[in-house]
């Protein structure tokens, strides 16, 4: 499965911006077997970066131990309606994807 769509929502709640992001990715552990009994190769997101108005605020390193189609929630200090949030990822094959939204 190639990189699928991402979904993101950023909402301001009492001075804190909640960023909830969903990534479409198989997150293969390299230990699962396909119906023919062959191991499905390791394929997983390694880095997730969150930016607020172009400035990096969270840098994540993750493993194949994260569930398929990963969902993360991050919390940013302050923020204002209309602030730009960008989230990007890169996997162990070098595939990448990114999405952006405005704080609502």
């Amino acid at each position: 499965m190639a990189a699928g769509p991402m979904k993101m929502r950023a909402t301001l709640n009492g001075g804190v911006t909640d960023v909830r992001v969903l990534m479409t990715h198989p997150m293969e552990t390299g230990q699962r077997k396909d119906p023919d009994g062959k191991l499905v190769p390791l394929h997983f997101i390694q880095n997730v970066t969150v930016k607020l108005n172009g400035r990096t605020v969270v840098e994540s390193q993750i493993s194949q131990g994260i569930s398929r189609n990963p969902v993360f929630t991050f919390r940013l200090k302050g923020g204002a309606k209309g602030d730009r949030i960008e989230v990007s990822w890169i996997d162990n094959h070098g595939e990448t994807n990114q999405t952006e939204t405005a704080v609502a």
Binding site: L52, R55, V58, G65
Partner: protein, 148 residues
């Protein structure tokens, strides 16, 4: 064929410039930590060999996970000056699940979904001022999420 030394060095400089961004990206993934097969080795790779137990590191997760493929874990660090949070699941084949570095714009908080092969201690390490703090919680798993 005569090799033009100027062109040669130019090629080398360009090649280095092209390779550098990839090297920088690769460096942000802790290969030793993620490759470790025990929590103790992963902690060592994180430079957090002997973390201090702390009540200021909070784990919110189910005590019993019905489905080990998707176990929601929410982490908050109330340790002042927390700059990173790492999550380890002791009994997973590779315990280190993630490490999150926060700058001044972010709160030391993350919610994620992890896979768990079996019932295990979940260990969360918060780093603040060069020191490491730990909290643990056991999560019981009725159906594992790492096999297939």
């Amino acid at each position: 064929m005569r090799i033009n030394p100027i062109r040669r060095s130019l090629v080398a400089v360009l090649a280095a410039a092209c390779l550098k961004p990839f090297a920088a990206l690769a460096a942000t993934w802790n290969k030793d930590g993620f490759g470790a097969k025990t929590a103790a080795d992963a902690l060592k790779a994180l430079g957090a060999g002997n973390p201090l137990p702390s009540k200021d590191v909070l784990i919110e997760a189910p005590q019993i996970a019905e489905n080990g493929a998707v176990v929601p874990i929410e982490i908050t660090s109330n340790v002042p000056g927390t700059t990173s949070i790492a999550v380890l699941i002791d009994k997973n084949p590779f315990p280190l699940v993630g490490k999150f570095d926060f700058t001044a714009g972010a709160l030391p908080f993350v919610k994620l979904n992890a896979k768990m092969g079996e019932t295990s201690e979940v260990r969360v390490i918060a780093e603040a001022g060069g020191r490491h703090y730990v909290a643990t919680q056991e999560i019981k798993v009725t159906i594992g999420g790492c096999g297939g």
